[in-house]
Amino acid sequence: MTETAYPRIGETVLRETLPNGLRVAVVPKPGYRKRYAFFATRYGGVDMRFCLNGVWHDTPAGIAHYLEHKMFDTADGNAMQTLAQNGAEPNAFTANAMTAYYFDCTEHFDENLRILLSFVSVPYFTQESVDKERGIIAQEIRMTEDSPDWRVYKNLLQGLYRTNPARVPIAGTVESIQAITPETLYACHKAFYAPSNMLLCVVGDVDAEAVLAAARDVLDAEPGAAIERDYGAAEEPGAFEKSVVYPMEIATPQFLVGFKCPADAEGEALFRQSLIGELACDILLGDSSPLYMRLYDRGLINGSFSGDFDQLPGAAYLYAGGECREPERVAQAIMDEAARLAREGVDETFYRQIRRANLGASLRSLNSFENIAVGMADGCFRGFDPYRFPELYDTITKADVEAFLRENIVEERRAMSMLTPAKEASA
């Protein structure tokens, strides 16, 4: 395995690509009791239209998530129960561009790892088991639809994008999942769960060679065919809809304002862009910014207010919001502050302060094995090394941040999503 040391953050990573194309990353964590395995495919909610062996497939919204639910079924029963009996806590998630299965445990790591590799790589569906899952997923979708945080975010993406699949709910809708059959699930598994489309990341005090041996023993020797993906027509630079308003049974109005940003960066440039976007966000409206304090002191925002910068396939956006009674005023204040920063420039001392804080926050997030593994998978699928953040921060200047603000935080790129209380809340 190739060993890379990262002295600035006190980490080491062992990497290897197996002959079947599977990427393996082992992050040693001496002194930890917990051992964590994370097996991910580059396949998520946005991958609905794809080409495999020359044939284009259009699959229903929510299929990647449905598949995730069904992967735990095995010919002998259910992998979740087998792992749980070994004291492992298995779980899975489906994101926009990734599906991941993982567990942590203290005992029987090798055995549990082999179970994980096996149940994720060997599909086992029947008409009956697929039908039965529909009720569970329908309840999950209903629960999500009642969540204001989810609703305000999804409506924002639908305001920003006209065709990009980021506007479609990852789990689909109760209607869209009706069309899912064992055949479509098998087809999607064949397309996306091939070793060359996947990453195995193990974090903890483990024997790295034994991890490789398990992957060699359990997984298919064939890499699988290359997949072409279609994320819809190219998007205009401007937002699709200025504003989306939605009534809900909530106590306090909520909003998000979003700015559509160019989404063509790849590899390390993509990672660098995400660090610039996060710095821009914190300088513009983070909790030590002049704007944040002004809005907070006037009672226009509260501690729920925050912002971030996200990059999905074909989509990138800076967004901010929270509970707020006057969202238009806050959005306007954000635009005005961005215009001021673009005009007058960012104060050099403040820029260094925020860069220092963000470097510290990136480092702090490495206490979480899940953060480490998700970062490794994201980097693996999109071509960058997530542990190179200290070096990348060295290359970023305040001019990069100013250019980002000048280009992106402008009226035509802006969309608003607002939730209004359906009626006066009872106490």
Partner: protein, 423 residues
Amino acid sequence: MQTIRKELFPGVFFNYIHAVKFKTGVLSVQFVTPLAREAAAPGALLPAVLRRGTQIHPDMRALSSALDLLYGAGLGCTVRKKGENQCFGFVSSFIDDAFVPGGERLIEPVAALMGEILLRPATEGGVFRADYVSGEKDNLIDAIRSILDDKRDYADKRLIEEMCRGERYGIARLGTEEAVAALESGALWDFYQTLLATARIELFYCGSAECARVEDALRDGLAALPHGERVAPVASERVAPPAVPRKHTEAMDVTQGKLAMGWRAMTEDAHAMLLANLIFGGYSNSKLFLNVREKLSLCYYASSAYHRSKGLVTVSSGVEFSDRTRAQDEILAQLRDVQLGDFEPWELDGARNVLISAVHTREDSAGRMEENLLGQAATGIWETEEELVDALSAVTPERVAAAAQSMTLDTVYFLEGEDKSDD
């Protein structure tokens, strides 16, 4: 991992854990006070008001900038309920000395900043600044109202409110909207001065620094703390269930119903009850998960929780409105199986393995260790990792069934949709 616990000043305890494997150090300061109807609201409000500014860093921007310069140290307000006590204060997380690019030491300035927030708050006319108090009152009222936004949390909170009406345990962690609205600067100031002099304080550190160094930093930071008699936390009171279970139903414009059920578990065999709860509904291999969700597809979630110090078990589930009765019957049937000892050896082994693994991995997270030590200090249930693991290892199927038999249904709460046909 070894915990060192010492009394720095009378009633002020310092819990220290040495660890070199983390990227960060964690420092926490918590007031622990018995839950009381009139004290919950000011207790919940105080951390937010204190976090607004100090005499040296007079506003949030000054405080946030100070934290940015400490390499993005986090310093969050916490308000928690542990048994029948309210715990509130601050938790700070900051990068470990080994990774500070400039070689600065962070523990001393973080401890000093915490001391400053606690003991040198921004004031006007000798009390808290009125604008800070009124701003944070609005925020706290919003937070109380927002519990409604997450229907699962809301249903769970309503269950405990109804079930433990008149008990300390039924008092809302954040107080009530009315109680918050009635607070003003002068009264809050007086409340805080009494608290500073009389409340139990728990300090916590986990990281690579030596104990003496952290102790010195805390003694310096808290030197101005008044000395005197401090009130100990209260142990939870066990209450018997009513003769007939209580039922509460509420209607709202929601797409999914929420079913919440609560039992009194009168057993003193807490270790058997911990496992009975897991077998019943406490994890992804439980009877509720495998039957109510996987077999009958009645819900996406149905899980149970054992409130050890208080002797309660609660179940929380999201179901179609029309499936309410079926779900409730099935939950009761699954409980009956546990009570009759009708579970396989793998169900007990699985529960035991998951729980022991969770106990072992606690030492992999400074946050979980802080949470656990605070809980032990507040409830008075002291137990080392080894003691807990040994006790769990010794539990037999018969003890699990006996513990489950001590459960009596107390309250059922259901959140249903509104009948739109009347509109």
